[in-house]
Assembly symmetry: D2
Homo-oligomer: 486 residues x 4
Amino acid sequence: MLFDSEKLGARKGEDVIRRLKQHPPNLWYRGKQVTNPCSTHPFKNSITTLSSLYDYQWKHPNIMLMNEGGRKVSKAFSVPKEKSDLKGLGKALIKSAQFSQGMLGREPAYLNRSVSCFSACSNFFDVGGSNFSSNVENLYKYIRDNDLSMTHTLINPRQNRRNDPNFQLDPTVAAHITKETDSGIYINGARLLATLPFADELAVFPSRLMSMSEASKNYAFAFIIPTSSSGLKFICRESVDYGLDKNNYPLSSRYEEMDAVVVFDNVFVPWERVLCHRDIDICRNFYDTTGATAHIAYQVVCKNIVKTEFYLGLVSLMIRGSDLDGFQHVHQKMAELWAGLQTMKAFKTASEAGARTNVFGMLVPDWDPLDAARFIFPRLYPRMVEIVQELGASGLVALPTKEDLQGPLREDIKKYFQSARLEAQDKIDLYRLAWDASLSAFAARQIQYERFFFGDPVQMSSRIFRNKSCSEAMHRVENFLRRDVQ
Amino acid sequence: MLFDSEKLGARKGEDVIRRLKQHPPNLWYRGKQVTNPCSTHPFKNSITTLSSLYDYQWKHPNIMLMNEGGRKVSKAFSVPKEKSDLKGLGKALIKSAQFSQGMLGREPAYLNRSVSCFSACSNFFDVGGSNFSSNVENLYKYIRDNDLSMTHTLINPRQNRRNDPNFQLDPTVAAHITKETDSGIYINGARLLATLPFADELAVFPSRLMSMSEASKNYAFAFIIPTSSSGLKFICRESVDYGLDKNNYPLSSRYEEMDAVVVFDNVFVPWERVLCHRDIDICRNFYDTTGATAHIAYQVVCKNIVKTEFYLGLVSLMIRGSDLDGFQHVHQKMAELWAGLQTMKAFKTASEAGARTNVFGMLVPDWDPLDAARFIFPRLYPRMVEIVQELGASGLVALPTKEDLQGPLREDIKKYFQSARLEAQDKIDLYRLAWDASLSAFAARQIQYERFFFGDPVQMSSRIFRNKSCSEAMHRVENFLRRDVQ
Amino acid sequence: MLFDSEKLGARKGEDVIRRLKQHPPNLWYRGKQVTNPCSTHPFKNSITTLSSLYDYQWKHPNIMLMNEGGRKVSKAFSVPKEKSDLKGLGKALIKSAQFSQGMLGREPAYLNRSVSCFSACSNFFDVGGSNFSSNVENLYKYIRDNDLSMTHTLINPRQNRRNDPNFQLDPTVAAHITKETDSGIYINGARLLATLPFADELAVFPSRLMSMSEASKNYAFAFIIPTSSSGLKFICRESVDYGLDKNNYPLSSRYEEMDAVVVFDNVFVPWERVLCHRDIDICRNFYDTTGATAHIAYQVVCKNIVKTEFYLGLVSLMIRGSDLDGFQHVHQKMAELWAGLQTMKAFKTASEAGARTNVFGMLVPDWDPLDAARFIFPRLYPRMVEIVQELGASGLVALPTKEDLQGPLREDIKKYFQSARLEAQDKIDLYRLAWDASLSAFAARQIQYERFFFGDPVQMSSRIFRNKSCSEAMHRVENFLRRDVQ
Amino acid sequence: MLFDSEKLGARKGEDVIRRLKQHPPNLWYRGKQVTNPCSTHPFKNSITTLSSLYDYQWKHPNIMLMNEGGRKVSKAFSVPKEKSDLKGLGKALIKSAQFSQGMLGREPAYLNRSVSCFSACSNFFDVGGSNFSSNVENLYKYIRDNDLSMTHTLINPRQNRRNDPNFQLDPTVAAHITKETDSGIYINGARLLATLPFADELAVFPSRLMSMSEASKNYAFAFIIPTSSSGLKFICRESVDYGLDKNNYPLSSRYEEMDAVVVFDNVFVPWERVLCHRDIDICRNFYDTTGATAHIAYQVVCKNIVKTEFYLGLVSLMIRGSDLDGFQHVHQKMAELWAGLQTMKAFKTASEAGARTNVFGMLVPDWDPLDAARFIFPRLYPRMVEIVQELGASGLVALPTKEDLQGPLREDIKKYFQSARLEAQDKIDLYRLAWDASLSAFAARQIQYERFFFGDPVQMSSRIFRNKSCSEAMHRVENFLRRDVQ
């Protein structure tokens, strides 16, 4: 039986490695298949990091784990009913993000939130004569109780600017259903953009941008399958971890999540793995009705608080270390970062304060603050990075390595690379970190990631324009125009 | 006895006018004393507006008033103990700001919050051997129970960039104590910048920026006196209400608050009116220890929510009226405004969620979200105004007046000034409002007011830099540098 | 004969007044016709300024005038052949702009440039069987030799976002030809936006945004008629000159140009006054083929150099007067202004250096630098204004008037309003000017004027996108991709 | 004799390699000395590129070379007398920059300009009793006639924010004179930041930021010595060329210039190599009096024109390739880039138009446009990079490699990675280039390089504030205040 397994609950790092060795994802890198990612660059470091995160949850069991059917499972799978549940979840998500300074944007908690919501609202998946609610519940339990990691993919490749995959030059480019049997469906085509492709499972969730037509139904589905499924190929981008040492690349060498295009080469998906099948209506309302959009955004805002705090701490150390306290423009930059942090924190708090129980009985954080957070953070984050660049200045360029400190020139290094208040070694450590947070290829990918996390910012503005009712505000101005202030 | 009066509680508009006629403030405009401001330009309109605000509170008694000793008083004088009190206060403050679309930045509620805090924390005024707590309480009750309006002044004029008034070229320029008798103190010199100078009372509160020296003590005081006190002169700036009609100047003709420099020409202040006397320590901690800074900022954030909502409504009507829905850059501008509104709302909510009871038993809203709000709003507001300018474009310039609509060319006007979805009359009404909110001298004074509301933004950044502890964030980065992620 | 007149050449101020009194333009203000604008608010001050500008040219005859047929005429009518001509013209245009600190954006020189170009390239007006070249030449000589001032109008009113006037809800809204006789044509409808409507002549030039259709031809024309023509109505916007004194309103009381919508009520245009008739082709190429676009933009860049210099001088005086020299952020602001000035100067120089003779033998300044200048200035100018606001801070609000300095409080004013390095009187003068350049309704109209001078900035970007060939740059990158660096 | 050599004039690539093999610079990388940089990562690729640049000049001899004493030498060594000389030089500099798309900021032409200026103004080096003019001339001829490449270093390391090297915690940190003999001087200490450290010669030029004191004289010198000199050590930063293939790293693998801190370990400098010795006055005026600042800035603006054009071409290809022509925000971004290019071009043209002959008879381009260019470009360049990031979006992340195109998945790649108007291969080529120009560590180092090219932007603003006379602009405003418009 498909979901038969040990169900030991929250895993440790060694469990993660063991499973990936048994079921290696179908990763392709630089034209070659990587059959043993756990020990092969550029996946080795990333998988080590991922496994450490699983160990980390056991170091903070009170915050990060919860009891479920006699075992401990990750709190990222929780379904909050009360505001106290939601705040407890928030603490777990923040703790988890602190493991990677917020740099692992797609740590498992991110997708755990979505399957938890789907399961809590499983009745939704039975609308219109569908009958997928039990699949949703079973998949959720399977993932939760085996503490599996997921990657996912939402977007259809496009050759032109029309959104519907059926109206592209070549309608077979986007992943679509090509066959249907008693035991399942067959998928061909491609999907963008699976981050963390060395996870255990691949969640293929619907793209919302589809027209309502018969032809579009072949693109309207959702399922979750193992990343090692036959016919699946993850075509990875060039890594931003260059396989260099952890001392000089403190972030790149740890938190490269990798992104991949997923190719489905006649991939078979058993019915048990299917959440939605040829149903455009369900696809369109998938995230919102189940509260998944809000819960995912809540995880993201928790992560972004941690990430912003990291930059604030980094910048504060640079200011102190390089004796920049006396400059007004430096104060201004620190204050900007600080205000950005407060903004993200306030959005989190406001989403908790306004949380409401949905029709399925699950508490859903208030959407408007979270939507504003995801509008604003892509503007804040590139500026944070820029602040590190501006404060670090040539100090981020004229920077030797750890090896220099240990080589024949060590006395020169000690003498010539000290700063106002830091020994050379500490200066180098701090500034290599600042470099990796602002000037490395890793740093740049983080910028790109945050800027497009929730899609094209231009389209996001249009979505806000269309979806937010300003009728009360308009009404107030109309009243004033009628000299009828109330 | 000084504070003897009717104590009728919350006033109506006619009470306001009657009192101002009996005790006209010492207003000077364009070189002349204005002896009857209630019927003289440029104060007439403003005083009418102020009196309407007092009527308005009686239209919303459940929201804006509370019971106190058998009478109704304004909720702006409340001292919250529970979070529900604070939220109720917030509702009252928002309702009050809606009266003027947030354009009356110094409506009485603003200063009511500070005297309420002082009274709730009156013991603070007895530190160091002082004995002013009963004055503080009596003044508070007097103002509350007579529902008086206040203007105030905080800042010493400077001729150079040193902050201390004693180290200016001419140390007699800043208001200072020149004599002390059994019955009170005498003040000479000037103070900046009393907004709403046609209020009933003038609160003279300490400037925090003083050095600790004997000579500075003469500048270290706080008191509240009637604006009609002998020797007091309010030298007003040029009005931005040009005395023109309300149709074409819908905001300017209503919400001009006026700003004035206050000159003290041997003004006598009876001891009963004194809150602090020659005590630099108290001056420095005046606002923060009493929670007044936070409570004032809370009122301001309520006002700014209303003001932002006004711009959002205005812009939405312009977009609809001129058929601009199809442009992505228009969406972007609306989304910016919307996100700004969410930000301000989130700061309010977060300040409530994190409110804590201070040592005097008063609930104080959380400071960090409010401090961030006052850092960010001066950046948001000029942009809101700019958005109106950008969307209004030449439509804000090629604009006839109401009189044109009623004159011989009325048919031309109707034909040539209609827009996509608005009749000429409605177009003119809406765009005159947009003009007054973005391009009039009134609009510009609002920008300047918001930009410098809490002082020089450059200094505010430095204050944040110095006051906010980033030690936790720094600690986390240091741990990471030591490879010790927790 | 229509163009029969004295032809005395360059006028003096009294000539201007005399003519306007004889032929008052059809001005409507606040619903009433203004029959005597020379002595009626809000036109009185503006006309005085205009007439002074005509006196001013006689104070700088070597720079501003040239010989033409035995008389002196304004150099703004010159047709450059050599680069030295162009530079001489530039000097005249700069001198002229200095008269109003660049605040009179539509001083007569602006349109003089266009008719000069049309005349120099008059053959263009005969294309396609038309025969208007002699009209063009005669009109040019008439205007030049009588030194007339012009206002003009280019834009059709729109009720929807389609550009073609024929495809509006009501196609009779835009000015169009309704009758044609042997002696001329009749025009009905409206046009936007005539600035300086109290000029002598109205130039009605074609809007470029038209489709090629028979129905559109009725909107395809160009002519110049007296502003006093029968049936013409200038519906003026509300003035930003509030009729107050020149001391407190140093710019508003002088440089209000006024903007008006022009209504044609069966206006007769004699053939002699027509430049183009029902010819869409000519309308589309009108400005570019004749070099008028470039020559107008050259005048504008000269004006903008003067205007920027004015802000730089103003800001420098404020920095010196208020002792702000020690602040880095102040340096930054000054440096921004300075770099903006250099940018505008460089565009002027580059347009001269790259000037080329067109097919009609006229030297035309290089277009790309001028096009870039008109792209950039609308971004620079609002920032200049903002810099004045930021540096002036509360000093721009707490500001008494000249009358205060002369009234009973004069000693208070002298004492309390001095700044670091300025007596109160000088401080007030300087800061009232700064206020009028940054915070008055006049200042705001200047912002709006500059921002939309050459039309919607969004459309301007699209125009640049479509019109500029980047093929060389693309070719270079393609070569690099082919590893073929040349 | 020191300067004895073949003097063959303009070199070819093989000459460059030969000489570097004979005289390898003292490079240290990752704690180890690199004894054979021509064949060792990370210098190998860079040196290949440098040598190709020397071949390239021979492909364009008419533009890039000139006759000098019977041989061809690089035009970058020319001393312009006439404007036509200057324009010819500009053409050569632009051609040279096109070799590397402007990415080799410190290509030899950069420093060639400075030694050419020094030599043309060699008398300057004899002021105050010094007698270095013949050294200056000899060194210039030696470098020119052997067509040597130079790196240089200007900045003293600082441990605190005081500029003077003598007032640091440890005054022996900055490079200083420790001994003086008949044959030369001895130098100890360090200097920042030698870019292109694998050049033939190291120019050690004075830091301007010194106080006038006896103790400071030890830091006041200038000389040029071989990079292979005994005791010299170039401590290189971590490379941004990761030694990966040229296909996937089209820029990183070619244009990594490397930056190094220079350590002087008792380095002997023969008198013949000295340009200035213990003379603070000369140090302070070194660049300006000789016109070197202006000529260097002229080279830089030529380079920046090419670099901007590269981004404009790149962005245009991306827009075309991905069918983005229909979006207004895309037009806006292209227009921004285009206007930036025009700005840089206009500054170049204006500097030529205003060029003046200095006291030594050399033509010096006008300084103000060049100074403005170097103020503005550090603001433009990061925005250009951002535009590539914004337009490239997830297309810059979901990107396979060349190897993928050649591997077993080639058919998948071809199908799934085509864009609207590009085959997969061309799409990959273009987007890898865009990635390397905007998101690689190489791209980030370019940003940092441009941002700090001429030093801290904050200090640059202050320098402009102090050095630019605004007296004329101030005078004009003062005249206006006195109602005396001229």
